[in-house]
């Protein structure tokens, strides 16, 4: 527990720790790393039958990475159900992703047995939730002075500026307010002048115009005396470029780390996922921009075309649940990334995976409803702010956030630059919604997860026909159907042969399967008989569809028909011949 209000200037956004934490959790503030752990323990204590709390690893700085499994043991063991995996905050600064996870856990558990839909959802799947992946990052984002962008990476030493020294030039909180803001200096030769419409902003001077300001960049000093300010902070190893699928070394992909899974947490989570082969759906929450991303992450990879309609169905529904979010293809509509998490889960774990980029900043409005929304450039790094939009955001700050998101410029005496001013957007701004918008954000994001979770396969087995066609010879037709969007295995996994397909097995003490295979036309009795071992059929049950099999069986007595799937559970039917 951090027993203090960390940022007096924006106290509304920190948890009031004088009051004990209670379940259901509150979402009118952000949780520190320690509070997330406390919340998880409290939830587990409150719902011991429906949850398991697992310590799956420790970070570079020895912080605990916790996973909570939600499962109703009365409806089966976790591994016998489709697995829905949700995580957040893999980037240390993207904290509201952790709140989304907490909210998801909270709403599922606190409504179990009360709300019919949620009860059904909880009963049908096993849920694996890791609210904070980058535990060191979350800790330091709260504890240290930061910009809204900083403290993204892992606490692994890396000589970013390649000068032979490691992590020697962090940002410096010169005015001691807990934020790394911007520095500017009065300069008649500067390239900026005060914005006539809002004196807090600056605009570029036109050719020939007299300048007023030079922007000195991030708050800080040149700690290592190399002429550059804040160029070698923590890491930089990006936890979302460190995964073992299509990984590329750091000269190709900044932040990749020296080798795949060099990050402690990444390695621990990969191990966890391999041990939970039932995981079929993945949601990884980030901020920001309002995007629902699917793979592939580079143009050289390929997604199996048969999986795309599944993604589209889930993604497009997600767009409606999360208004203002765009469903996009990661490499094409954003930018290419090597070694990211969801490429790993798509291709190695065999899940349908989404990245939720939370919080479209355009939700910070100060205008009438009807007005046309300003267009994004579609790229996060390069989406320039533009003064018109900044003016509106400042108004939003003034009249809806009561000034908490922006620090007005204040004079400061800098050891190198002399008299300067420090000011600008604070760390708990821009990428993070003001707490009054947090509840809406976490509810809608959790609803998108619940929608996807509702679409995990529900396989039904039906004996279509059981007829005697000769002496002790029977024809058996079995149908496996699924009225949900997600198939029992992704097409990508089938093509990549990552793990065996689902199996339909016919067995019995006094019988022998003479022939068996996929029934391709039920009316004309077309069957692709399997040459060997006809009693075991390898198959996939599609989403919103069915697949039929026919067996010719010699003998009599009890016959067991068994469907086993890594990700869609097991079904057994026994019939008499």
């Amino acid at each position: 527990m951090t027993g203090m209000l960390l940022f007096p200037g924006i106290s509304l956004q920190a948890q009031d720790e004088t009051k004990p934490m209670t379940v259901p959790l509150r979402f009118d503030h952000y949780y520190t790393y320690e509070q997330v752990v406390e919340a998880l323990k409290l939830i587990h204590k409150t719902y011991p039958d429906l949850t398991q709390l697992n310590l799956i690893g420790k970070s570079e700085e020895n912080r605990e990475i916790w996973e909570i499994t939600i499962n109703n043991p009365k409806t089966g063991k976790p591994l016998e159900k489709p697995g829905v995996y949700v995580d957040g905050n893999i980037h240390g600064n993207e904290i509201q992703a952790g709140e989304v996870c907490l909210y998801f856990i909270d709403i599922m558990l606190s409504n179990y047995g009360k709300n019919e839909k949620i009860t059904r959802l909880l009963d049908k799947n096993a849920y694996y939730v890791i609210p904070v992946v980058n535990v060191d990052g979350r800790y330091h984002f709260f504890a240290d002075a930061n910009t809204m962008h900083s403290n993204r990476g892992l606490r692994r030493p890396k000589d970013d500026d390649h000068d032979g020294r490691i992590n020697e030039d962090f940002p410096d909180d010169l005015d001691g307010d807990g934020n790394i803001c911007q520095m500017r200096k009065k300069d008649p030769n500067g390239k900026y002048k005060t914005d006539p419409e809002d004196p807090r902003l600056m605009v570029r001077v036109k050719p020939g115009e007299k300048g007023e300001w030079t922007i000195l960049g991030q708050e800080g000093i040149d700690n290592d005396g190399d002429g550059r300010v804040n160029e070698d902070a923590e890491g930089y190893v990006d936890p979302n470029r460190n995964w073992g699928f299509n990984w590329a070394p750091p000269y190709v992909q900044r932040g990749a780390g020296d080798y795949p899974f060099s990050g402690h947490g990444m390695k621990a989570i990969a191990g966890f996922m391999v041990n939970h082969p039932n995981i079929l759906v993945v949601w990884a929450f980030h901020n920001n921009g309002g995007m629902i991303l699917r793979g592939p992450s580079t143009k050289n990879e390929r997604m199996n075309p048969a999986d795309i309609p599944v993604y589209d169905y889930l993604g497009k529904n997600g767009e409606k649940i999360l208004p203002g979010y765009k469903y996009m293809i990661s490499w094409k509509d954003l930018y290419p990334t090597y070694g990211d998490f969801t490429d790993f889960t798509d291709n190695i774990i065999g899940s349908y995976s989404f990245v939720g980029e939370l919080f479209p900043t355009k939700k910070e409005t100060y205008r009438e409803m009807k007005e046309e929304q300003p267009k994004r450039t579609g790229n996060f790094i390069l989406s320039g702010s533009g003064n018109e939009r900044d003016r509106e955001r400042l108004k939003f700050n003034d009249f809806l956030a009561m000034g908490m998101l922006y620090k007005p410029w204040k004079p400061f005496h800098h050891p190198v630059y002399g008299d300067i001013e420090i000011g600008g957007w604070v760390k708990m701004s821009t990428r993070l919604p003001h707490p009054f918008m947090l509840e809406d954000l976490v509810h809608r994001a959790a609803s998108a997860v619940m929608f996807t979770a509702g679409q995990t396969p529900e396989i039904k087995m039906q004996v279509l026909k059981k007829e005697k066609i000769g002496k002790n010879l029977y024809r058996l037709r079995v149908r496996l159907s699924n009225n949900k969007a997600i198939p029992s295995i992704s097409y990508q996994s089938v093509a990549n042969k990552v793990y065996p397909k689902d199996m339909l097995t016919v067995s019995g003490k006094n019988i022998r399967v003479v022939a068996g295979g996929k029934l391709t036309d039920i009316y004309t009795d077309r069957v692709n008989y399997k040459d060997y071992k006809p009693e075991v059929q390898f198959l996939q049950v599609p989403g919103f569809g069915k697949t039929d099999y026919q067996f010719l069986i010699k003998g009599k007595g009890k016959v067991q028909i068994k469907f086993t799937s890594r990700k869609a559970g097991t079904l057994i039917k026994t019939i008499d011949m």
């Binding site: 005396g225 160029e231 073992g244 590329a248 750091p250 450039t377 065996p500 199996m503 060997y532 071992k533």
Partner: protein, 674 residues
Amino acid sequence: MKYFFTLSRWGLLCLLVFPGMIVRGQPAIKKYLTPDEINSRILDMARENTERAKVITMAKTPGGRSLQMLEIGKDLKAGKKNPAVLVVANPEGDVPLSDLAVLYLAGYILDHQETLKDLNWYIIAGLNPDAEMHFFQKPLYRDQRNGKPHNDDMDDQVDEDGFNDLNGDGIITQMRVKDPAGVWLPVDGDQRLLRKADPVKGEKGMYKLYTEGLDDDGDGLYNEDGPGGTDVGINFPHLFRAHTAAGGLWPGSSGEAYALMKFVSEHPEIAMTMVYGSTNFCLVPPKKGRKGSVDMNRIKVPKDMAKMIGADPDKTYTMKELIELVQPMVPSGMEITESDIAGFLGLGAIVNPLDEDLKYYKELSDRYKDYLKEKGMNKERLDPAPAKDGSVELWSYYHVGVPTFSMDFWTLPKPEKKKKKKSGLTAEQIGKMSKDDFLALDNDTLTVFLKEAGAPAQFGAEQIKGMVRAGQLTPEKIVTMLKQMPRKKETGQGDPKMQALVVFSDKYLEGKGFVNWQPVKHPIFGDVEIGGAVPYADNTPPPRMIDSLLSAQVPWIFTLTGKLARLGISDTRVTPKGGGVYELNIWIENKGYLPFPTAMGKKNRHVPPAVVQLKGQVDFLEGRDWTPVQSLGGKAVKKLSWLIRADKSTILDVTLESPNAWGDRKQIKIGGVL
């Protein structure tokens, strides 16, 4: 039970050992050793040399064996960190000789103080001990996978259909089965060997070929899911291929490969890698010519990206130009680097060795050939294997960025080719000849030509000449006739490696390198024949050859370590500028032959920079007390300059430090000589 290629047999052969060059204190290596035996030898070495050697356990294999590294250094106990050489043996686990090379090397180092002067050694004898065990087990078969269970055929069972020793000879060879749909034919001249029938030449196959075994799981496939999982030797990240049968789930998914990557990442003092296995970068430089490398000076920007950053999609840009284009568009304080651009545009990794590095590889390969000639080891042999995608060698060169060499020590000798006489004539040339020119051809040449052209045997040179003389034929007509002749079938010779194997086996192994085909009753196929190459016969020489092979080739590594980049301060100068201001010049040099770092190391920025540090009471007017040096060519000198203000009596302490390229230290008195 007849044809054993087993150790006991080799053991007998050991009686005939040729002592070769025996290392002081180290007995000659006379037999192949199991991973456990190697590990215990290594432990012994460490125990006998506690000041200079220690054993680090890096990982446990899925088969329960421990993966050990021997560290050797002069001041190991004192914890002094010298630049170091990493030696990795047998990453694919199927080259027993390479483990012994490591033992030989370690023994040699411990016996030769000069190899430890200011260099440390990290030596892994056998990166893949699970796979290494196959050589010592019965039945004998070769498999590069570690002991991790894996469902190769993606059915309902794991590791359920491995080989079966059907003829009980302790060796897994092949089964040939007569089959109308067969594609294999015996090779003319050696019925033991098989080659693929060529339907284009109208040939029809006779046999189907299988590995020796049963369909244990009844799925119609033979030996398709034997025990074993990941080939450690292809489990590294450069050009790693996902979703292969043996490569592992991801690069470093095997504990063995992961442990090595982690170790190397934590040891920047590693200056060079040597891999003992099946490739030989000492002899054959890394391969070029792979498609996919991006020319960093001619980068095209895709349309939508171009629009975003204001570039022209029809133009090409240099990396520098792109950085300049993007830099103003990002938030202040964020520095755009090459890797940002490479990542943003999805340029991908470098896949061909850089030319600047290849120059050195080629030169060193020539020197190595000279060296081998001196040692009498220059007999023609089959080529070493090319490095595989995902191999240790490629990872070390491309990702670690240090000079990376490899050695394979032995392949089968190239069989001497019977020289065929050639006529040097073509049908076209004959067709254009005058009658007199044709008659002037000597009979031998004409005979060879007629044979080449496929003329019927009864038409001899003299007979044809007679017909030409008599005017029954003209040279032109001869050619027309020859063109109508049915072409004589060219008979295939089969796999040259197999040819080499049978020749070697017959000559040096009393035929024990190849199991002759013998009829066996197979439960499914009925009559089959079992036979073929004995596993390892093509890469594992008889034990009597071990010592001479290793003693000749292993020491080349010391020539290579002598060529490593070695940084030093070659000169200093202080020039007074007046008013207590001085210009300070320091010349730093690379006394080594190899550049610091390799061109690839410069590109991937994995090798830490060298740093010049100045300590003393001075004000820096230009330059600073900490100066990173990113690169310095082989034998090159670089001048560094500072402008300082200091008292005359000041003594400056200058250090040049690099974790993997040594360094230097000097003192400078500002006012003159110390």
